[in-house]
């Protein structure tokens, strides 16, 4: 193949090109305009003297360099690389100026002098020489290149190549299939014989029955069993090979029933409540004649598996939640407002514009519906069936949200990953279509998984100590969808995955019996993308969970506002008011006298309370147990825009030396101190007292530390570090370059004040 051929030296650089090898490319960069290539990656086209636009206002910060299109990415290699920003997340496989081809949403070429613009697709012609190339990315970046000094023909060729290669004709042409094969063979020597199982991956990926067995045991689902009728995907291509079903249903019956369900998807057990209620998901039954009968059998079986034999509650998600097109169109709109429209323009009516996108409304709808399901499972101890036409979209969101609310296990990092694996990957969510990696059918594209991550963020925002991972983790996970190197997001169904990986293993001469986790790893092997140090950005210092800092004697210590002195009398008015004026907040159902009906409307009518409202109000009146049931606050005022995700690239929205990260910074430092003290204690206690080793003052080795930010030291700067911005660990610099925005940065803050703009000469502004 191509990569075997050594590359020619370019006219810019007469040194022999570096051999492409991951290990070597990670070494400190040698200053020359050579792309860092991954194993199997080849340069398709390139053009020199390209200007990458950094700021919309002036070209003074723009970077000059070479634009390259490979079979994996668009890469820009700046002539003079600016000093890398400290503490910025650095990707092991992608440089700061790289964009994977699968991450491209739209490739737009512009000719300024002719006033022409064209969105490029695959195999297209371009009748003008582009002066500009704008890349709209799926991770919401907008990157702009100018060709004013570049050779017009080569510029055009690179643009066409980018457009062409970002529209792969077939799934197996995605770069992951090339890369992972090479990587497997190249790193083979590095791997010790019989090394750790699954390549050290701790996340259960639910491809074998032991993973399901463990889950059944963990949740105490004794009336449920692992059934293997779908082995070799004999029954349904979109179901996993192992399915958990009620013990009372025999394989024979299940096989019989399966043909009536859409996609042959027999009901799928998700989770069991300690009280015995079960969460089950299922597709609809196409044949109306059989529907009642089969449903009856399934429901009976589920009821039998409940210790109290309680009735099953069915929730038809198609009827009460937005569909995938609604979600897609909301996302397109919210993206438009957040990153594409000029900052000023969207500032004008920001709140109503955000409302009009309906994104937050959808987020809230999914959370709300999931909370309703929680009420049935927990409040009523009833088993629930989530029903959806195909059981592969909305059910994924709701079933995973319900489990996140009910089961603290899924709020740990490993637990969360196993949840995605179980309810999305193995349950047959069509990642390939929904991500539209092949850019074939736009009707099928829908950011359902991002919607789910946003819902998780809302919960995390409300319960910051309940999750082991951070919003950085969620954001990085969403970005990983657009890097086609991991098996997680590439396929539509478990069967498709199995087939492709089997063919892949055959083609790449991977020995049979090798674990697919090793030869084509899922995204959960984060060491593929990030250094150990950078991975610590995933750790939430506030997390209360296994091994977290504050659990003493099995009890979570909580600190209530205590009054030190006896000034309580003065406080009384205020403390009561802080508690909603409700001292005993644990109200019961109100007695309703006839007086109520006489109330004038302006003095707050009292409405009837449903049992589920009652359940929620009761729950909210008690302090939340971060390791117990968590219900999100669903007042519209408490559902917020996920700023890190939507605004991280927007330079105008970036708070210098501010944002939630400043609190994260402080918390991480404190937790690092705690870790150091704990390791010192271990060192004291560890070996026999006679030979007590001396504690090392530095604490654990720096690469073993859990926290990204180390304990503070007297050498710390007296001012907050510059890299702490609200976008941390991402940088808006050069990642969002919309066209034609005028004015000085300071003027942007102040768009409401039009009048003074005329009286003041902005040119005189000293900024």
């Amino acid at each position: 193949m191509f990569s075997g051929k050594p590359m020619k030296p370019t006219f810019k650089c007469y040194l022999p090109p570096v051999q492409t090898d991951v290990k070597k490319t990670i070494e400190p960069p040698i200053k020359k305009l050579e792309p860092k290539l991954l194993p199997g990656e080849i340069v398709v086209n390139e053009v020199n003297f390209v200007r990458k636009c950094i700021s919309a206002e002036s070209s003074q910060d723009d970077l000059w360099g070479k634009l390259i299109c490979t079979n994996f990415k668009v890469s820009f290699i700046p002539q003079d690389a600016p000093p890398k920003q400290k503490s910025q997340l650095s990707h092991l496989l992608l440089g700061a100026h790289d964009i994977p081809l699968t991450c491209l949403e739209q490739v737009v070429t512009v000719n300024d002098t002719k006033g022409k613009k064209k969105v490029l697709g695959s195999n297209q012609k371009l009748k003008f020489n582009p002066t500009e190339l704008i890349l709209y990315c799926k991770d919401l970046r907008i990157i702009r290149f100018c060709f004013d000094e570049a050779g017009p023909e080569s510029a055009k060729k690179v643009c066409l190549a980018i457009a062409h290669y970002s529209h792969p004709a077939d799934l197996h042409l995605l770069f992951g299939f090339e890369y992972q094969g090479r990587r497997y063979h190249e790193s083979k020597e590095g791997r010790v014989n019989g090394s750790t199982p699954r390549g050290g991956l701790q996340t259960p990926i639910f491809d074998r029955s032991s993973d399901w067995d463990r889950e059944i045991k963990r949740t105490g689902a004794s009336e449920w069993r692992v059934c293997s009728i779908n082995e070799n995907y004999d029954i349904s291509p979109s179901l996993p090979e192992q399915i958990v079903v009620p013990v009372s249903l025999a394989d024979q019956d299940l096989k019989l029933y399966s043909s009536f369900f859409t996609g042959n998807r027999i009901p799928l057990w998700c989770w069991n409540h300690p009280g015995g209620s079960a969460l089950v998901r299922m597709a609809s039954i196409s044949d109306p004649l059989q529907q009642k009968k089969i449903e009856q059998r399934v429901f009976t079986a589920i009821t039998k598996s409940h210790p109290q034999r309680s009735d099953v509650f069915r929730s038809d998600l198609d009827k009460c939640l937005p569909n995938i097109q609604d979600i897609q169109s909301a996302f397109v709109k919210v993206r438009q407002i957040c990153v594409i429209d000029p900052f000023e323009e969207s500032e004008e009516r920001w709140l109503s514009s955000i409302e009009n996108t309906r994104w937050l409304e959808h987020v809230r709808a999914f959370l709300k519906h999931s909370a309703e399901i929680v009420y049935h499972l927990d409040g009523k101890n009833a088993s629930v069936i989530l029903q959806e036409e195909e059981d592969r979209d909305l059910n994924c969101v709701v079933s995973s949200l319900v489990q996140l609310m009910l089961d603290p296990h899924y709020r740990s990092l490993i637990g969360f990953q196993s949840l995605v694996q179980k309810e999305w990957v193995k349950a047959g969510h069509r990642f390939l279509d929904r991500c539209n990696h092949l850019k074939k059918n736009y009707k099928e594209e829908s950011p359902l998984f991002i919607l789910f991550l946003d819902c998780v963020w809302q919960m995390m925002n409300q319960y910051p100590a309940a999750f082991e991972f951070t919003e950085t983790y969620l954001t990085v996970l969403s970005d990983s969808m657009w890097i086609p190197l991991f098996s997680t997001f590439l396929f539509n169904s478990p069967k498709q995955r199995a087939q492709h990986l089997m063919d892949f293993a055959k083609n790449k001469a991977i020995p049979p019996g090798e674990d697919q986790v090793v030869y084509f790893p899922p995204v959960w092997d984060w060491s593929q993308q990030f250094s150990t140090k950078d991975q610590t950005l995933f750790n939430n210092p506030m997390y209360i969970g296994k091994g977290a800092a504050c659990v003493q004697n099995g009890e979570v210590k909580t600190f209530k506002r205590t009054k030190q002195k006896n000034y309580s009398s003065t406080l009384r008015g205020t403390s009561a008011s802080m508690r909603n004026g409700v001292k005993g907040a644990d109200e019961t159902l109100p007695r309703r006298g006839s007086l109520v009906s006489e109330l004038k409307p302006d003095f707050s009518p009292v409405k009837d309370e449903s049992p589920s409202e009652r359940f929620f109000r009761d729950w909210f009146s008690r302090p939340a147990d971060q390791q117990g049931l968590l219900i999100p606050l669903l007042i519209p005022s408490h559902v917020a825009l996920w700023r890190l995700f939507f605004l991280r690239w927007v330079p105008e929205a970036c708070i210098p030396k501010g944002g939630p990260v400043t609190a994260y910074h402080k918390l991480s430092q404190l937790v690092d101190e705690i870790d150091i003290l704990q390791s010192q204690l271990r060192q004291y206690k560890g070996p026999s007292p006679g030979s007590m080793p001396l504690p090392s003052p530095g604490g654990p080795l720096s690469d073993q530390r859990r926290m990204y930010f180390k304990a503070s030291s007297p050498n710390d700067p007296p001012t907050p570090p510059d890299f702490l911005t609200s976008s941390f660990p991402f940088t808006p610099m050069g990642n969002l370059c919309r066209r034609s925005i005028h004015g000085t940065p300071i003027s942007k803050f102040l768009n409401g004040a039009r009048i003074w703009l005329s009286t003041e000469t902005l040119a005189n502004d000293t900024v």
Partner: protein, 571 residues
Amino acid sequence: MSSDGLIPNETVQDMAQDVTYFCPFTGALRGTVMITNYRLFFKSMDREPAFVLDLPLGVVSRVEKIGSASSRGDVSYGLVCKDMRNLRFSHKQMEDTLRKSIFEVLIKFAFPVSNGLQIFAFEYGQVFPENGWKVYDAVSEYKRQGIPNESWRITKINDHYEMCDTYPSTLAVPVNIPDEELKRVAAFRAKGRIPVLSWIHPESQATVTRCSQPMVGVNGKRSKEDEKYLQSIMDVNAQSHKLFIFDARPSVNAAANKMKGGGYESEDAYQNAELVFLDIHNIHVMRESLRKLKDVVYPNIEDSHWLSNLESTHWLEHIKLILAGALRIADKVESGKTSVVVHCSDGWDRTAQLTSLAMLMLDGYYRTIRGFEVLLEKEWLSFGHRFQLRIGHGDKNHTDADRSPVFIQFIDCVWQLTRQFPAAFEFNEYFLVTILDHLYSCLFGTFLCNSEQQRLKEEIPKRTVSLWSYINSQLEEFTNPLYVNYSNHVLFPVVSLRHLELWVGYYIRWNPRMRPQEPVHQRYKELLAKRAELQKRVDELQREVTNRSASSSSERAGSPTRSITPVQTFV
């Protein structure tokens, strides 16, 4: 606290059984009402545990009797409160027509000023370890800023409030302007509020000065002394040859003021000065905006159209304009090293908002608890923000056009800053809420009266307790554990609706579905305790090791003992 739950000098005025409180969230509750000279106390045993409503009468803005002609003979009273809630009660029609309803008693004590009574703050006699009236001393605050220096002096011209009765007695002015000339400047500035120093940059010496509008009038009157005065404010800052005058008003309003004799500085008359209008609306617009906001958030938020409803109140837009103005001032002073003059019409509402917010951005001292108290005492209280008029303490005239939430808006802006810079403030959200609660409660003397002169005349510091006495006696409650005291950290917030948000912890706090907690802070405190505990154990073990090695080395004299590295401690 006494056993009956009353605070010092609080006396029960009336009690009534069988009163119904209509809780907008959970329904009607039957219970007992007690009215004292300080509060309304409602308790219902309908629920387990008992439901309690404890309301300082100062928050009551108006009491309305609603429909006495009901078939069952019930009388209802609606209480509209200044703190974003309405309460409704009802009780049976009095059989004894001579007997007053308990709510008539409430009206008397809720509006003491209108009823010839004393505001409760004058009776409250709680003694605190710290005397909050000592928190602010003008001379020491100027000294902290390095004033007097070669360019600025302290003048005693207003010692007896003769030049300006709404200004403090201690003022800082440019050295080269003698007192005689100050008087002539005063004649040209509305209410005699001449430009005086609020803050000086420790390095560049660029200053923030505040004043009222110039009395330009329709004929474009000029004052040589005023022009010279502004010139000298510019001259004492060697770093810049320019002076920025920030007029907080929209230019149209500023121009309209000419009809009333006021106006703004013309750039012809003031050489080297540049005039900027900040477009902040007047007190009436702000009052209307908050009224709309209350409609949107209380008692319940509609499930749909939340954001557009919020937008239609324009509340966040006003917050944005105020913060944007303050940011421009801070940016001019910090990045441009240029001195600025700030005024609106009278210089006690929008001007106070702008100077104090700019100072918060510029000077980390004001972001400490005590520093913030000093900032309020200085920029708001001593410079005559008319708290009595704007809040209407004890006054039943709820439609008074002078009432306006200017100060609430300022505290909201501060909260917005704490959201964007969670580690930059020593105080927490509870501190800000407490200040607003006691803005209305009339328990403390801090926010009484309209000016320093009035406060002195009423002997407020002698006769009442300061809010800072209460707060500073239990600082722990009000401290932000995440606070990092970085020096020279100037805050440049992003003044965009993308980051501004509704302060739910204040405006929506009555909603029981809203959890009043600061989980991050709480968690941080838990972690601090954990660290302290571990540190203690490590220290103990350390001592043990030291002792053991000391004894073992004495036993085995001569054998080299390893020296003990002290355990690194982090404080």
